[in-house]
């Protein structure tokens, strides 16, 4: 697949049906689909996130480097 194809596929949400005549309905559907995808991602990330964010962040202190 060329990059151009990848790009347009990405923009179309991967379903390839964002033709010009679909109009408002398509935009709404796309919005819903994006939200669904995001919910799915967050659900997955929730399951791997470190517990006790505050403590986790506080304890991460590095010495400078380079």
């Amino acid at each position: 697949m060329t990059q151009e194809q990848k790009r347009s596929q990405r923009k179309g949400g991967g379903d390839g049906d964002d033709g010009g005549d679909a109009g408002q309905t398509s935009a709404t559907q796309k919005g819903e689909k994006l939200k669904e995808e995001m919910d799915e991602i967050l659900d997955e990330i929730d399951s791997v996130l470190e517990e006790n964010a505050e403590e986790f962040v506080k304890s991460y202190v590095q010495k400078g480097g380079e």
Partner: protein
Amino acid sequence: MAIAKVMGIETEYGISGLAVTDFNPVLASSLLINSYAGTLRRIRWDYEQESPLRDARGFEPVQERQPVEEDLGLANVILPNGARYYVDHAHPEYSTPECLTPRGLVAHDKAGERILERSLESVERILPPGQRLAIYKNNTDGKGNSYGCHENYLVDRATPFPRIVRDLTPFFVTRQIFTGAGKVGAEGSREGGRGDFFEAEVGLETTLKRPIINTRDEPHADPDKYRRLHVIVGDANLCEVATFLKVGTTALVLKLIEDDLLPDLSLEHPVQALHEISWDPSCRQTVRLRDGRRVRPLELQWEYLDHAKKYVKESEPTPEHAEVLQWWESVLSGIEEDPFSMHRELDWAAKYRLLQAYLERDGLDWSSAKLAAIDLQYHDVRRSRGLYHRLAESGRVERIVTEAEIEQAIEDPPEDTRAYFRGRCIGRYPGSIAAASWDSVIFDTGADSLQRVPTREPLRGTREHVEALLDVSETAADLISGLQGGS
């Protein structure tokens, strides 16, 4: 005529101990590396040619470096893939072997991540129950401390250094729109991870008053012919497209500079512009050029791209260059349209999208600890827990290289640079090598004295040059006599 761009990336990883009392990051880094390196750790690093305080502007070194890592017996190993894996300051550092193509370098940079992940797995078997280490490929702890991800490029010594400074500075200031790793702060999220840590335009420092152009003049190669441009202004990237573009575009711009093909695009206040752009994920804010024009960072990038296209077409129409130009144009177009849509390609946008979604779903504000935790965990090297890796696993980021290419880069050196000779020697004669470095391999064949084989030419010692000799050399002594006979 521009020279081939031999390149490498050195990354200092963040390290922390969870439930470890009296955590010592220096010793923990050493333990981590040694647990991966096993018996390879007896091969020493050859410091003979190192002089990190020599200045590209021609100044004399002020003091000689004390290799404290060596004195303390800290881990410092050379791997069969040609990489160096060692303790620097208080971090595990992975320096890729020298690569000749951006794609090869992406594979080797990713191999570094996997080696850190494997090291973590092996060290966990020897830690007391309940304790563990965490490793992050990031650049800041969010508490004012920064550590580096440096790039290195082979540059023709004949190119005047002031020209490099003039033509590279505007490029570095603006490339962060695609190389930035992003960082969450109380005021919102940004794209450049560490713009604020840079305070000077040009200089030798790397740990304080960091400059946009670093002048360390330590070529690790024939100093009459080459410079090694040491770039400290980048972020560590997880997105392969970001890494690919970071090194691919910079290498091309350096070729333009060597051939003196760029107009003067000097910024009026480069350091200020670096900070301003890093705080503007919309990529819309303009910066002022010395000639009075105000331009968006994208406009400068389009201008560099146009010159690069012309150069590639007229002087070096290779498939490698075509791939860089294609991604460069595609990503600039994407940013032009909507920077936040680039979450499949760019780290800052991928992370921003996650942060924004949590912010909305959980009703958080930008100062929330949860967002800071998500920012940190994005960079976790474990594929099971790192958020970047979770996105990659479910096909939500673009890839440049395959898993098979990464696996190969964990084991094997690049074939098209001197790293091939170094790596193959380490792999084939580990017991007969006393030390090695970027520009040497020192053999102990049991003879009266050690044999130092200099590798001062980064494009000598490739597979094409030495594979046949290595194949017929049963022992290191055979190899040495073969090299002497052939010279």
